[in-house]
Amino acid sequence: MTKNMNYNINNNGYYGEFGGAYIPEMLYPNVEELRQNYLKIMAEPSFKAEFDQLLKDYVGRPSPLYFAKRLSEKYTTKIYLKREDLNHTGAHKINNTIGQILMAQRLGKTRIIAETGAGQHGVATATVCALMGLECIVYMGEIDIARQAPNVARMKMLGAEVRPALSGSRTLKDATNEAIRDWINNPVNTHYIIGSVVGPHPYPDMVARFQAIVSEEIQWQLKDKEGTDKPDYVVACVGGGSNAAGAFYHYLNDTDVKLIAVEAAGKGIHSGQSAATSALGFEGIIHGSKTLLMQTNDGQITEPYSISAGLDYPGVGPMHAHLYKSGRAKFMSITDSEAMTAGLELSQLEGIIPAIESSHALAILNQKAFKTNDIVVINLSGRGDKDLQNYIDYFKL
């Protein structure tokens, strides 16, 4: 690892060798329009003011940085939880959808499309579309629609149309394909709100910037509590990687702060049912981005598995591929059962029921020993309400 390396995106839309925009020509005008405008729009004072105001009054930011006393005692280290679970709609996803809906409005778009796996990003998108009075179509795998009924109902109640993705494996990856096809078919009036730091440039960078509020707040909140804005570790789970991108963002180039990305090992990395992309994947192209992805030797994208629908993606965002390859972030993986146990533990030690995604980040406390005075910030990316049925089934509650 080079001390002075830059882990942000470069001018060509790459993080190291990862990123770019590997898209069919049909998408080029849309993506190019966004590329040319996103930084300009984000820098406009009126944009910033509206974004900040909505994050404060509508989302409920800043989200607390909570010192988890009993968890810290158990693991004999100082653990802070960044409470993204307390945001409106229950996860960090809303930070990005607020940003992108304002972006879409400024680009003159009147129709919004999104993909969703478990439905969290779909709900966050349907929410901001209701807020702004824009038409909203959410693509969701037919299989996910069946297993995430409450979120489907939420989206419908918010006025969104949920369209089943019937192709391929009928899960998140296929919902993403369908959303991209919709965008190809509707190139003028439509904005595609991608839910993670994936997809063609500029999406990974744009989404990371909207999520960067997470680490921006950690900096000043930690300064208040500990007299330093630098934790020793920042820990976050990674599916596509948007909550991790937000939690890492302002620490990317500060190598005093160690970054830990936690992937879903599913039933075990070598079980054939896993989503641990850094361990199982290799370089290739998925959804318009050169990154690490799970695929056959022949270049066909394979199906990931995790108990957590939010981590069930066969790639990682190009930023994370670069953090992995460069060694800037340590990648760990957590199985279904380790995550579930960690979720139950947090519930009973701190009175916080985490999303199963976030439980993966918590579970590393059992894998890695931290020093007594280490400051460990764990991004609690979402709340566990949506996962209640999973917890009930798993623990026979």
Binding site: E25, N186, G299, Q300, I301, T302
Partner: protein
């Protein structure tokens, strides 16, 4: 001269047919190619199936999925095609997404294409700048024509740039759509065909997407050098035997 370039010099409107290799059955590839040539079409696009074909509509997607289930891989396709030039002289293009080609190795892939006698490649998600900076010399070394797409939204400057780096034909996507989604051309599309024809580009244009019968073929080729049919042919293959392929081609050309 490359077979595609030769074909483009002929004084006629060209019909190019796309099919997904490995569909309906794994080993149909060679028989489909032979029957297509015999039926009088001008060019063939052999689809290398991909698990996540972003630019394709339901028909081609489903045929790709079936082909993969049947066991199609890059290696299998190359094996099926290894003797194709002993019997077939029609221009052959491989159309596929970039990831499988990247995993095979771009240079190894191009080299294999040359050995077999493939004339060109269409890789919809290989960006123009990446091609230009990293792969152009490889394609040229192995005598492969790389075909780029344009759409009604492509800017004039970009069309001119694409024309400048092309050496075969330009794949003119008829409308903003995935494959197989249109029925008949309206004024907007006809105006777009005219607009591109008026640019008098150095490369001829071949229209794809939304061509399914004699009427749409005739409309498209009024302004362009030729037209490509994919989804309609795949639907035909699902319901008919190979010996009827000439009926399909005749229904388009006459």
């Amino acid at each position: 001269m490359n077979r595609i370039q030769q074909k483009l010099k002929e004084d006629k409107k060209l019909l190019s047919i796309y099919f997904s290799a490995g569909f309906p059955n794994l080993n149909d590839t060679v028989a489909i190619i032979k029957n297509l040539e015999k039926s009088g079409v001008d060019m063939i696009e052999i689809g290398l199936p991909f698990s996540d074909p972003l630019a394709d509509g339901p028909t081609i997607q489903a045929s790709s999925t079936q082909a993969l289930k049947n066991g199609m891989t890059t290696e299998v396709l190359f094996n099926q095609l290894k003797d194709i030039r002993k019997t077939v002289s029609i221009p052959l293009i491989i159309m596929g997404y970039f990831n499988p080609i990247l995993q095979y190795g771009v240079e190894a892939f191009c080299k294999k294409c040359k050995t077999i006698g493939i004339d060109g490649l269409i890789i919809p998600d290989l960006p123009i700048d990446v091609y230009n900076n990293e792969y152009k010399t490889i394609f040229e070394t192995y005598g492969l024509i790389n075909v780029f797409l344009i759409t009604p939204q492509t800017s004039v400057e970009r069309i001119k740039f694409i024309d400048s780096i092309s050496n075969g034909f330009i794949y003119m996507v008829s409308s903003a759509s995935v494959t197989g989604s249109s029925s008949g051309f309206g004024d907007a599309q006809i105006n777009y065909f005219k607009r591109i024809a008026d640019m008098t580009l150095k490369n001829p244009q071949i229209v794809g997407f939304g061509i399914s019968n004699n009427e749409t073929f005739t409309q498209a080729t009024q302004y362009a050098k030729g037209a490509i049919i994919g989804s309609a042919f795949i639907k035909f293959l699902s319901n008919n035997t190979f010996n009827k392929i000439d009926e399909f081609s005749n229904s388009i050309l006459n």
